[in-house]
């Protein structure tokens, strides 16, 4: 029998460091090596918006208990997009094939979906996360068996940093060498690679910027896929997620809008923060060039550059934000109440009896109470 074999393992296996060559080759031969335990690891990306398991509830996305058996678009209490509802009316149901296609490119498979996620490119990751979801029943309980094949051990988390295997005998204390650095000679010198892995901060003068570049136009696509669902298509903020653009000349208003363009002093902060903390739920997943592109696009959304602009490590330090000069040092000690030489009044300090000027706006602060909006967001 002739078997069509795809040897393009890289295309199939993507860039995931979790997959070893053995599993890649198995996958390219079409052999199912789906590993639900590895899939649970993949699911961590999804957990920014989805819950699955006991007590799973709807978040930005619906809870996924029994997703492979319950059909599509029918989780109680969740408001699906019109796009998904239309597909369900046309007969869509979730199985291994449809889920695989959807997870690979959600916005292509279902334009208008609320799941503004760039997609899971790696086929093995998709197989594994679908296998993991298949182990969770409708009531959130686990169906028990997780595949325990070669893939499982091959994909096992290789934490080379754990303690030594139990079998190894402990060295004699007298034989343990003492380092030469420092005062108490504790710890060990870091390697260059280790420092490079963690030294991710960027300063306003550009120190720390990695080589790279990104244009506004490249940034649009990344932003729409990875950022818009929370920050809004124009950076206006969805719901209580932070606003990123606009708000010019509002700082003295009753309700100022503090955005990158209206408030942030330095562009380096944008690069630094996106690189270390975004997207929410999948930190450190963007490439350095991605971050340049997104930073360029955020400048564009704030009307600070035009659409032809490309941001690079070379021109970065020349980009200044409008509010840079409006920050002052802490001078609370100049406020009239702060002085230490004052006497505290003890009697007849205010004329006339106290009158209520305002009562609590939010009388019932329990989580169910959604009547009052309070004084704005905390974040």
């Amino acid at each position: 029998m002739m078997i069509a074999v795809s040897l393009n393992t890289k295309a199939l296996c993507g860039h995931s460091a979790r997959i070893t060559a053995a599993v890649c080759i198995l996958a390219s031969f079409g052999v199912s090596a789906a590993d639900s335990q590895a899939g649970e690891n993949v699911f961590k990306q999804c957990s920014a918006c989805h819950e699955a398991g006991p007590d799973a509830s709807h978040r930005f996305g619906p809870q996924l208990n029994g997703i492979l058996s319950r059909g599509a678009g029918n989780a109680d209490g969740y408001t699906y997009s019109a796009a998904l509802n239309d597909r369900v009316s046309a007969g869509l149901t979730w199985d291994e094939d449809t889920l695989d296609a959807y997870l690979k490119a959600p916005l292509t498979y279902m334009p208008g979906t609320k799941m503004a996620y760039v997609g899971l490119q790696d086929e093995v990751d998709r197989d594994n996360v679908i296998a993991y979801l298949a182990t969770i029943n409708l009531d959130g309980s686990a169906s028990g068996d997780s595949s325990d094949d070669a893939a499982s051990s091959a994909v096992a988390d290789s934490s080379a940093s754990g303690p030594a295997a139990e079998a190894a005998p402990r060295p004699l204390a007298i034989d343990v060498p003492i380092p030469t650095h420092g005062v108490l000679h504790l710890g060990r010198p870091a390697t260059e690679e280790e420092v490079a892995a963690w030294d991710i901060d960027i300063r306003p003068d550009g120190k720390g910027l990695p080589p790279g570049k990104g244009s506004v136009l490249t940034g649009v696509d990344i932003y729409d896929a990875q950022c818009a669902s929370c920050h809004g298509v124009f950076g206006e903020g969805e719901g209580r997620w932070p606003i990123l653009a606009g708000g010019f000349d509002t700082l003295t208003d009753a309700r100022p809008e503090k955005t990158i363009g209206s408030y942030w002093p330095y562009l380096s902060t944008v690069y630094d923060y996106v690189r270390r903390a975004m997207p929410f739920g999948n930190s450190r997943s963007l490439s350095d060039d991605d971050v340049y592109a997104l930073t360029a696009y955020l400048l564009y959304l704030n009307d600070l550059v035009d659409e032809s602009f490309e941001l690079t490590d070379q021109n970065f330090a020349q980009v200044r934000l409008p509010n840079e000069g409006n920050f002052i040092a802490d001078n609370r000690d100049e406020e009239s109440w702060f002085g230490a030489a004052q006497e505290a009044c003890m009697n007849d300090c205010i004329e006339g009896p106290a009158r209520v000027m305002q009562r609590a706006r939010v009388l019932d602060v329990t989580p169910d109470s959604e009547d009052e909006d309070g004084g704005g967001t905390l974040d």
Binding site: G182, W198, R240, E335, C349, R361, P367
Partner: protein, 433 residues
């Protein structure tokens, strides 16, 4: 009947009769005694069956010593928990909850009730997998394991940690009806850890090193710039709170402690400290944690937490249930500048003040406990507390703060809090003239 009486039966048949007769006499005698003391006891009202009847807990066994290897409070205290306010933030994983200060006493916050503030959920890190790196302007960039840190000389300190946004909702006026929500982003625990200066000495700080950048290992990779003078002063890298390992919510296995300074700087899940010669102007010290003034300028690097106090009982979550008469008022006070020298209390909305009784151990940059014992006449009150710290700073009114800063600075609201206690003992968060 006892064996003794049975044995005596054999010896003396009449002894039982004599005993019985004696008991009857004794009973009469007892009755006579009761009549003699009747002035002291109540003979008019029915007795409380909780006393006159045997209760289940008097009779039946409870849990054995193997039931609760890690103990919890009584189930009757189950409503004393951290609480969050859902509409404050977009997602609970980048959000805050509040210490139930209305129900606590003393100065130590129990570990399970310390408020949480995360920007990427609670990281779960195995201590054997965690590392602390020191890099930058140092002679030798270093990596420490948790075992390494346990070998440095340790210190114990009791410090408050207050979020700079504590009471931030109240700038515009009375908003949230309970001190847990208006003032609950604060806790006070005993930290065990190592002075940061010892760790820096291992790496060898270069002369040009003037600033530190601590960084966390959670998804937010939280960073702040800290000036070297503070770092070398009293900053600690800690691994224990109130005697046991840091809770995951408080940064297990290690966090930074920056005594008296805003809570955001106390980086949790600490993984790295970089030494540099300039501040980094990270997101949490530019976009956030800068204080916008009403002229459009904003203060940055507002590090210190100012003198502050709040009455925790009575308060909206702790109404006076017992009617007029002897009443205990209590609250807490703290200052990032030192100890609390005095807390004054007013029951008429700041027209007249009396000095309360401070009653707790007094440590610099730690919470202090105060009490005011008085006879309540049952009429409405406007309760306020005003703390004075060891530098002589007097807690200001909210009006004084708003005059100085406007209403949009979000952070560092240390204004005097007013509770309106009504004639029925209930209390409400108010602003008054």
């Amino acid at each position: 009947m006892t064996d003794k009486i049975k044995n005596d039966d054999a010896a003396s048949p009449n002894r039982r009769q004599a005993l019985k007769a004696g008991l009857q006499l004794g009973g009469l005698a007892a009755g006579a005694t009761v009549a003699g003391n009747s002035l002291a006891m109540d003979t008019t009202k029915p007795s409380d069956p909780l006393i006159t009847e045997i209760q289940d807990w008097n009779r039946y066994m409870g849990d054995g010593v193997d039931s609760n290897p890690y103990g919890s409070p009584s189930k009757f205290e189950a409503d004393i928990v951290r609480r969050d306010v859902a509409w404050l933030t977009a997602d609970t994983k980048s959000s805050v909850n509040f210490t139930p200060i209305h129900a606590l006493d003393g100065i130590i916050t129990p570990n399970g009730l310390c408020f949480e503030r995360h920007h990427g959920g609670v990281a779960q890190i195995a201590p054997s997998d965690h590392r602390l790196m020191i890099n930058g302007l140092v002679d030798t960039p270093l990596v420490f394991t948790m075992e390494d840190l346990a070998r440095f000389p340790r210190e114990n300190h009791t410090y408050f940690l207050e979020c700079a946004a504590n009471s931030g909702m109240e700038w515009r006026g009375a908003q949230l009806n309970g001190c847990q929500f208006t003032h609950g982003m604060v806790h006070n625990v005993v930290y065990t850890g190592v002075r940061l200066k010892h760790l820096l000495a291992e790496a060898g700080v270069k002369v040009r090193g003037k600033w530190l950048l601590p960084e966390g290992a959670d998804p937010a990779h939280m960073t702040r710039s800290i000036p070297m003078e503070k770092a070398m002063d009293d900053c600690l890298v800690v691994f224990k709170m109130n005697g046991e390992a840091l809770r995951p919510e408080q940064g297990y296995p290690i966090r930074l402690v920056v005594p008296g300074w805003e809570g955001n700087m106390w980086v949790k899940w600490l993984r790295r400290i970089e030494v540099g010669d300039k501040p980094w102007h990270q997101r949490e010290e530019t976009s956030k944690y800068t204080d916008l003034l009403d002229d459009g300028l904003a203060r940055r690097f507002t590090w210190e937490m100012d003198v502050k106090s709040v009455i925790t009982n009575p308060s909206p979550q702790a109404p006076i249930m017992h009617g007029k008469g002897r009443t205990v008022l209590t609250g807490m006070a703290w200052s990032g500048h030192g100890t609390i020298q005095r807390v004054d209390v007013s029951i008429d909305g700041g027209r007249n003040w009396l000095t309360s009784r401070l009653d707790s151990p007094s440590f610099s940059k730690s919470v202090h406990r105060f009490y005011y014992d008085f006879d309540w006449d049952g009429r409405e009150m406007f309760l306020q507390s005003r703390a004075i710290d060891s530098n002589g700073h007097i807690q200001p009114t909210k009006d004084a703060l708003r005059r100085a800063r406007g209403e949009n600075s979000i952070y560092h609201n240390n204004g005097i809090q007013t509770w309106h206690v009504r004639a029925d003992g209930s209390a409400e968060n108010v602003e008054i003239s």
